[in-house]
């Protein structure tokens, strides 16, 4: 209310003045002399209005406080500015400020209502601190350098004490507790987080494991390949020693000391034949003979030749007969490890 009156009073007075000035300035403009300076003053007025509006917005709380009369001061400033207003653009800013000031006034009026009811939040805060058992003597000391208003002077149970009192006012349903207390509903949410952290922490472990596995697979495959290559080497060596004598297949694969080794040798030799590195033919006595083939020369023929498949069977008795018949005393393919054949022997 008071602000409203003040606002109106100066404008009535200024009204005449400003209208006088307006016509004066208008005349000036028509003569085109003071136009530039007029433009500058207008810009200045606009800038001042904007500053005023901004400061009102930023210091909203200050404007609303009971102490001081900031709102009135702002209104008086605006009135002074309005004296220089001649164009609608500046008047619009004045109107904008007035809207803001009115809102502030409204809020102040609301405040007034509760002020009448004498609710003083500062006193309330003080009473709460008293209830919580604050040690004021010590606090007064620190008040001198206000910022060091730390919580050290409230006893540790202060908030519990207030909380206990507060609970009496709530119709809050007591929460369900587990009898031994340790069991809360939260952990399931936290668990995946821990796992994720672990994963991030140990990338080395992760890479180490697959590397090991790979090695094992490789060594297994390599063993077969190496053995096949070794046998090919042996076959080629025997052939080179005496190219004109065909090598008996049965004599080549048979290990007189081990049936298992014999079967194994047959298995490895089958790879040689599949890959076209060795061929099996029948000699005039209808016994199978084996000879190494030149893979490069054979390649073209291999494509043209129809693939033939043959199955050779051998059981324990047949193996024994072969050893006797061919009088094999030592294997043409020596076993890679002695222990293996030893075990077979016994």
């Amino acid at each position: 209310m008071a602000e409203g009156k003040r606002r109106r009073r100066p404008t009535e007075d200024m009204g005449k003045e400003s209208s006088e000035r307006k016509s004066e300035e208008g005349r000036e403009r028509r003569t085109c002399i003071g136009q530039e300076s007029n433009e500058t003053t207008r810009r200045l007025i606009r800038q001042q209005y904007r500053q005023l509006i901004a400061s009102c917005q930023q210091n909203r709380d200050l404007m609303l406080s009971n102490r001081g009369d900031k709102l009135t001061e702002a209104l008086e400033d605006a009135d002074k500015l309005f004296a220089g207003v001649s164009e609608p653009r500046e008047a619009a800013l004045d109107a904008q400020f007035l809207v803001l000031a009115t809102n502030l006034g409204k809020e102040k009026a609301n405040q007034l209502q509760s002020d009448m009811a004498e609710f003083d939040s500062i006193a309330f805060a003080e009473d709460l601190l008293t209830y919580m058992g604050i040690n004021r003597l010590e606090r007064e000391d620190s008040d001198s350098d206000e910022d060091q208003n730390t919580s050290g002077f409230l006893p540790n149970n202060a908030w519990y004490k207030l909380g206990e009192e507060a609970k009496k006012y709530f119709r809050r349903a007591p929460v369900f507790h587990f009898m031994l207390g340790t069991f809360t509903a939260d952990p399931p949410v936290e668990k995946p987080r821990i796992e994720r952290q672990r994963k991030k922490a140990g990338p080395q472990e992760e890479t180490a494991m697959p590397a090991q596995l790979k090695k094992m697979e490789e060594s297994h495959q390599e063993a077969t390949e190496k053995e096949v290559e070794r046998i090919l080497g042996l076959l080629q060596a025997y052939h080179q020693e005496d190219p004109n004598t065909p090598i008996s297949y049965l004599e080549f694969v048979t290990d007189p000391r081990s049936f298992a080794r014999t079967v194994e040798n047959m298995f490895y030799v089958s790879f040689l034949i599949r890959d076209g590195l060795a061929g099996v033919k029948l000699d005039p006595d209808k016994l199978p003979i084996i000879e190494p083939l030149n893979p490069e020369g054979e390649e073209n023929d291999q494509d043209s030749l129809l693939r033939k498949q043959a199955v050779i069977s051998m059981n324990y008795e047949e193996w024994q007969k072969i050893v006797e018949t061919f009088e094999i005393s030592a294997p043409m393919i020596p076993p890679t490890t002695g222990t293996q054949s030893d075990a077979e022997q016994s």
Partner: protein
């Protein structure tokens, strides 16, 4: 239920939530009540009772966090194939809460259908309950609720922060030794629990918010009680604050708390 909903006429927008939502809800309820009875006859009593106890257990556990429990969650996790008799299950569960636990199931958000449990019994003086981590939070909360009510049911956030600062609770920077991140507690936890509403004010730069009572606050305490708390703290007669006193008395007599 309808009675408890009427009492939600507290401060805050539970008031604002338009009547037509209420009407719509009661409408669907009455529409289905005969159907529910028919559906109920098709189920065995054992099955229905089993669902009711499941619901009671679910709500008790869910209530630990004090975040209103959504109807959608209840349907999804407990009711499942019994949706056709949900109102009946809810009614029976509420009976159990009232008769066995001294609690009451209340709907806080008729629009999104969420429920809270509130105590039906008067709080005991020195109930000897062990102090838990929520105790100091309730102290902080009652201060904010008091401030809101005494300042005309709505306050700017800056007023709240200033009040807390006076009580040596800083809302920015360092973590408080009891409350941790105070701003998060006040603007997130209390808001999620529907004790407070934290509303952004339009066209403010820098951003400003205002606090009001949330719908749970309106269910768990009355204006008269909050005035009693303030009066006790300030060692004054509640009539000192005439307008607040009149408002509280109007609420107490007008809406008739259970």
């Amino acid at each position: 239920m309808s009675q408890s909903r009427r009492s939600s006429k507290g401060p805050g927008p539970s008031q604002v939530q338009s009547m037509d939502v209420d009407e719509e809800y009661t409408l669907t309820q009455t529409q289905t009540s005969s159907q529910v009875q028919r559906n109920l006859e098709r189920r065995s009593q054992n099955q229905v009772e089993h669902k009711v106890s499941e619901l009671v257990q679910f709500l008790l556990v869910k209530d630990q966090k004090k975040i209103p429990i959504k109807r959608a969650d209840i349907l999804k996790h407990v009711i499942k194939d019994y949706k056709d008799i949900f109102p009946e299950i809810l009614k029976r569960a509420n009976n159990i809460f009232q008769q066995v636990f001294g609690l009451e199931l209340a709907e806080v958000d008729p629009k999104n259908h969420s429920y809270i449990l509130i105590s039906k019994l008067p709080p005991l003086q020195d109930d000897g309950m062990k102090e838990d981590e929520n105790t100091p939070k309730m102290g902080l909360l009652i201060i904010i609720l008091s401030l809101i009510y005494m300042k005309g049911n709505v306050v700017k956030d800056s007023v709240v922060w200033e009040m807390l600062r006076r009580l040596q609770v800083e809302c920015s920077g360092r973590k408080h030794k009891i409350f941790g991140d105070v701003k998060k507690l006040v603007t997130e936890e209390f808001v999620k629990q529907k004790y407070l509403e934290y509303i952004r004010l339009p066209h403010t730069d820098p951003l400003e918010h205002e606090f009001r009572w949330g719908s749970r606050a309106a269910k768990e305490l009355s204006k008269r009680q909050i005035l009693q708390f303030v009066a006790k703290m300030q060692k004054k007669n509640p009539k000192t604050w005439m307008s607040q006193y009149n408002e509280a008395e109007a609420e107490a007599s007008g809406t008739g708390r259970h």
